[in-house]
C-alpha cells in the first residue's frame, strides 16, 4: 500500500484560526482520496462537516453511529446542504484544552460519474466521561468528479491554531 498512498497537500491553521480548510484543484490522477484530520473548534458543540466542489443545495445525506461515553446512539439526515458528519467528530471548546480529534475520511472513486460515497472514522480526545467516537457514511448525490473539499466546524465556530488536514491520493495500480 505504501507506494500508492501519496500525499497531495496539507493545510495547517495559524494563530488567527480559520473558518474553513479547503483543498482545491484536486488532480484527477488517483483512484480514491483520503483526508486525515486533526482539529479543534472554538464552538462548544458540533462536528466537522464537508462540502464537495463548493456545492451546497440538498444533495447530501448521511448515517451516523456514535458513542458518547455513556451509550451508543445514531442519527441520520437527507436533503441537506453538507455532509454533517463527513469529517467526523471535532474537539469542542469544552473538551480538555490543547487536545485535538483524530479522523480518517475515505472517498472512493472520486472521479467517477456515479454518486459519491464517503466513509468516516473519528474519535474526539477528552479527559472526561463524555468523549465522542463516530462512524459515518455519507452520500453526495452528484455525478461530477470531486475537485475540491471544504472542511468546517458545523457548530459555527472556527478551527483553532494547530488544526491540520492532509489529503492523500490512493492509486489502484
Amino acid at each position: 500500500m505504501a507506494n500508492t498512498f501519496i500525499k497531495i497537500a496539507s493545510v495547517a491553521v495559524g494563530a488567527g484560526g480559520a473558518a474553513t480548510m479547503v483543498f482545491s484543484s484536486i488532480p484527477a490522477t488517483y483512484t480514491d482520496l483520503v483526508v486525515k484530520v486533526s482539529a479543534r473548534s472554538t464552538s462548544s458543540s458540533g462536528d466537522c462537516q464537508i462540502v464537495l466542489n463548493g456545492s451546497g443545495g440538498t444533495a447530501y445525506s448521511g448515517k451516523l453511529l456514535y458513542g458518547d461515553g455513556a451509550g451508543a446512539l445514531s442519527a441520520s439526515n437527507s436533503g441537506v446542504a453538507q455532509m454533517s458528519w463527513g469529517a467526523g467528530a471535532i474537539n469542542r471548546s469544552t473538551t480538555t484544552s490543547s487536545t485535538f480529534c483524530n479522523t480518517d475520511v475515505y472517498i472512493p472513486n472520486y472521479t467517477s460519474s456515479n454518486f459519491k460515497s464517503v466513509s468516516t472514522d473519528s474519535v474526539e480526545e477528552n479527559n472526561a466521561t463524555q468523549a465522542y467516537s463516530q462512524l459515518a457514511g455519507s452520500l453526495w448525490a452528484n455525478s461530477a468528479a470531486i475537485t475540491s473539499i471544504t472542511l468546517s466546524p458545523s457548530g459555527g465556530g472556527n478551527f483553532v491554531q494547530y488544526s491540520t488536514a492532509t489529503l492523500y491520493g490512493i492509486k489502484n495500480s
Binding site: 497531495i8 497537500a9 496539507s10 493545510v11 495547517a12 491553521v13 495559524g14 488567527g16 484560526g17 480559520a18 473558518a19 474553513t20 480548510m21 479547503v22 483543498f23 482545491s24 484543484s25 484536486i26 488532480p27 458543540s45 458540533g46 462537516q49 462540502v51 463548493g54 451546497g56 442519527a75 439526515n77 441537506v80 446542504a81 453538507q82 454533517s84 471544504t150 468546517s152 458545523s154 457548530g155 459555527g156 472556527n158 489529503l167
Partner: protein, 71 residues
C-alpha cells in the same frame, strides 16, 4: 475576520483569504441547520425521557428495578 485557508493541490500554493459571499451564506445556513437539528434532538430526547418516566410511574417501579427485569 472569517477566513478560509485554501491549498491549490495543482500548484501547492496556500492562500488565506476572506470567505466569499457564497461561502458566508453557506456557513450561516449550515449553522442554522445545525441549530435546528440540535433542537429537534433535544425535543426528541425530552419526549423520550418523559415517556419513560411516565411508564415507570405507571408500573410503580424504579429505573434500576426496570433494568433488573431486562437483565
Amino acid at each position: 475576520m472569517t477566513t478560509a485557508i485554501e491549498v491549490n493541490c495543482a500548484t501547492g500554493e496556500v492562500v488565506e483569504r476572506p470567505l466569499t459571499p457564497e461561502e458566508l451564506a453557506q456557513r450561516e445556513a449550515d449553522a442554522a441547520a445545525f441549530a435546528a437539528q440540535k433542537h429537534e434532538e433535544e425535543v426528541a430526547a425530552a419526549e423520550a425521557a418523559a415517556a419513560k418516566a411516565a411508564l415507570l410511574a405507571k408500573l410503580g417501579i424504579t429505573e434500576d428495578e426496570a433494568k433488573l427485569l431486562l437483565a
